[in-house]
């Protein structure tokens, strides 16, 4: 399959370095499994996969912006806001509340994207500002509190919280996202243009690629998937809160980068994001086994992010880093 060959050629380019994420994942699973044999039991692994789903959906969204050489810092606020929207409207709108939440995500992403390309604001500023707006919006509409779903409202959440012959539905949702993103990246113009813009924007522009349009689309996708992550999180926790997805921005970006997507853009795939997300999850579980305070875990993710960025790019080729 040609998708594989292009991935292989990318791997060949950077040699063994590109296999490091998969190797790391296998090693981590073995280490944690050796320390705690119950970790390797199917139920534990399914549980792990389920716990990874939200992180993976968030990460696959933000990967669109990273692929272009940008970043979307608004994702955790967007996810929290989406959970609040669902909690507030599910009683009235039913399944429509999910559509509303994701629609708000798409609109927020559109605004970030337009601010980025039309006003020529760096993406980290545009999305940082958008994140602030979304966080405040979530605080205001929720009256600064967490909203627990009522019994009747929980019925609408079974597509998220339920399971299909033993497999949690969130895993199915994550798989659908995986396939959707894979097709988008490998089989559409958008995917190719994203890679081209990330790897060499001036050449893509001079070749007639509508760069601005692709960028706006990437931010719409990023925020929509963040909203979906928030919807899924709300379903699993049966509540919505303006801080529900707080603490997820760092692990999501770390997952993308740990998987081997270059923070400078142009190189990346959903498979790398999947491996990166699993690494982050296994590290999280491993730390729990080791008794690391849950609030101290971001110390590890921060360190992992720095290390991964340092390892994934050949720094000597970059004269100036801003």
């Amino acid at each position: 399959m040609s998708g594989v060959t292009s991935v292989v050629s990318q791997f060949r380019f950077d040699g063994l370095r590109q296999w490091a994420p998969l190797g790391t994942l296998v090693l981590l699973v073995l280490v944690v499994g050796a320390a705690q044999p119950s970790f390797l039991e199917p139920e534990t692994l399914l549980q792990l996969a389920g716990d990874t789903a939200v992180l993976f959906i968030l990460a696959s969204g933000v990967a669109f912006s990273i692929m272009l050489g940008g970043i979307d810092l608004s994702i955790q606020s967007m996810a929290s806001l989406a959970s609040v929207i669902v909690a507030l409207t599910v009683a009235r709108l039913g399944y429509g509340s999910f559509v509303l939440a994701i629609g708000v995500g798409a609109f927020a992403g559109f605004l970030s994207g337009v601010a980025h390309v039309k006003l020529r604001i760096p993406s980290f500023i545009a999305t940082l500002a958008m994140g602030g707006v979304l966080y405040s919006a979530a605080l205001v509409v929720s009256h600064e509190r967490s909203i627990t779903l009522g019994v009747g409202e929980r019925d609408y959440q079974t597509w998220i919280a339920g399971s299909l012959s033993g497999v949690p539905n969130v895993i199915v949702i994550a798989l659908v996202v995986l396939i959707f993103v894979h097709i988008l990246q490998q089989h559409t113009r958008f995917g190719r243009y994203s890679a081209a813009i990330g790897a060499g924007e001036p050449a893509a522009y001079a070749s007639g690629v509508k760069v601005n349009r692709q960028k706006v689309l990437a931010y719409i996708l990023s925020a929509s998937l963040a909203a979906l992550a928030g919807v899924v999180l709300a379903g699993r926790l049966a509540s919505g809160s303006p801080t529900l997805a707080a603490e997820l921005l760092l692990p999501a970006i770390a997952a993308v980068v740990v998987g081997g997507t270059a923070i400078t853009g142009g190189v990346g795939s959903i498979w790398r994001t999947l491996i990166g997300s699993l690494i982050i999850s296994v590290v999280r579980v491993g730390m729990t086994f080791l008794g690391v305070d849950i609030f101290a875990q971001n110390i590890v993710f921060g360190a992992v992010l720095i290390a991964a960025v340092a390892v994934t790019i050949d720094r000597s080729k970059i004269p100036i880093v801003k």
């Binding site: 040609s2 998708g3 060959t5 292009s6 292989v8 050629s9 380019f13 097709i183 089989h187 559409t188 113009r189 190719r192 243009y193 890679a195 081209a196 790897a199 060499g200 001036p202 050449a203 893509a204 522009y205 001079a206 070749s207 007639g208 690629v209 509508k210 142009g266 190189v267």
Partner: protein, 508 residues
Amino acid sequence: MNAPVAQAALALVKVDKRFPGVHALKDVSIDVRRGEVIGLIGENGAGKSTLMKILSGVYQPDRGDILIGGKRSRLANAADAARQGIGMVFQEQSLFPNLTVGENLYLGAEAQFIRFGLMDWSALYDAARRQLDKVSLAIDPRMRADELDFASRQMVELAKALTLEEHAKGDLVILLDEPTSVLERAEIDILFARVRALKSRASFIFVSHRLDEVLELSDRIYVMKDGAVVAELETANAEVQTLHRLMVGRSLQSEYYRESLQASFRNEVVAEAVGLGLADKYRDVDFKLHAGEILGVAGVIGSGREELTRTLAGLAPHDRGRLLVRGREVRLATPAEAVDCGLGYVPRERRVEGLVLFLSVAANITLAALTELTRYGFVDRREERRLAREWVERLQVRTPGIDALCLNLSGGNQQKVVLAKWLTAKAKILILDHPTRGLDVGAKEEVYELARAVTKQGVAIILTSDTLDETIGLSHNVLVMRDGAITHRAGASPGGKPRQVDLIKHMV
């Protein structure tokens, strides 16, 4: 060599430098004696800039030695080169416009003015004034650099290079890289007078493609061609014609540009400009471009031809007059619009605007044609790969395969990929912007052959070139521009090619 290298203030001995696909410097040996002005000439791509970058510590030679005052030395970076007495006056001026003249002069060397941890500004400006006196520039060093005119800035750069004599250990060698390209004649006279007066303090390497100026200022001249020094002459024994012949390396051979393949073009007009203009760049440009025609645009820097090229590429939309492409009036606000009109831009910055280096050959070849390759929203990857293979074969792109990254191809093969991209997109008009820049002779000839082949298929070409020789050799018709306007039009049919001198007089 006329003098022992050991006595030279600076010498390069058998310096060799390669880049992927380009042998930039081939065993280059040059020596600069104390108090001497060396002229260094050559066409674009001859290796002058690589040589300058090695001397200023930006590049390291692969082989060979750099001798400073007879001692083998290593120039690790620009600061290191400066410490060892090599100063630079750049073509594109390197002063920071938002800093004062004094701050610019001592940028990076402020430590000497620090007293008790604070800057002693009056000491810095006193020292700056002394530096400006050396070049007889009577300005206040507290002025901001952007308040100065070009010529004065050039003098400030010279003064900055001269600050090195206070700390450099040995002799001072100053590289003058195209310092006259933005100056008026009177300003050039002043610059040259200063350089001559400063010969007691320093040696100079003067790089220029204005041969008359090189003859005027230099004591000795090195001629470079295709990465090698092809001649070393005393100025007294040189004249413009000799230098030119040495630089170009051949009396004009018509077959070099495949003139026998130059077919007459068709009657069909594919593009037309009527009174086309862009504020402050060019004006009143009229031309008709026919299917199968190569239209060369000649002119010096500032003639407006570069901007005209970029207008057609959709990178600098015109604001006056009319542009018709295949009968339809257009204003090309973005490259995407130009591509939709059937235009394809082959840029001079091949590695930046021409190719996405970190994508495969196949992805680059189809980048401008993905819309045609899309069925029901999905890119037909089988067809994509078939097309890529076909073009790689037809243009004889030397690559390990269509999945190889363009990064790893040589310059000539990269250029073929750029051309393949536009041929895949079925471009009707190609804009060749310095298409052979940085290519070696063999690759150049392949590009010429390709240009002939596509025009035979009815593709029209607008050409701006590094050398007038190439423009004349390839084109059916030549437009000469000066100061933003067309000053001359010449037919260039095979056997009836205009002479360079006849065009040059309309350029300057």
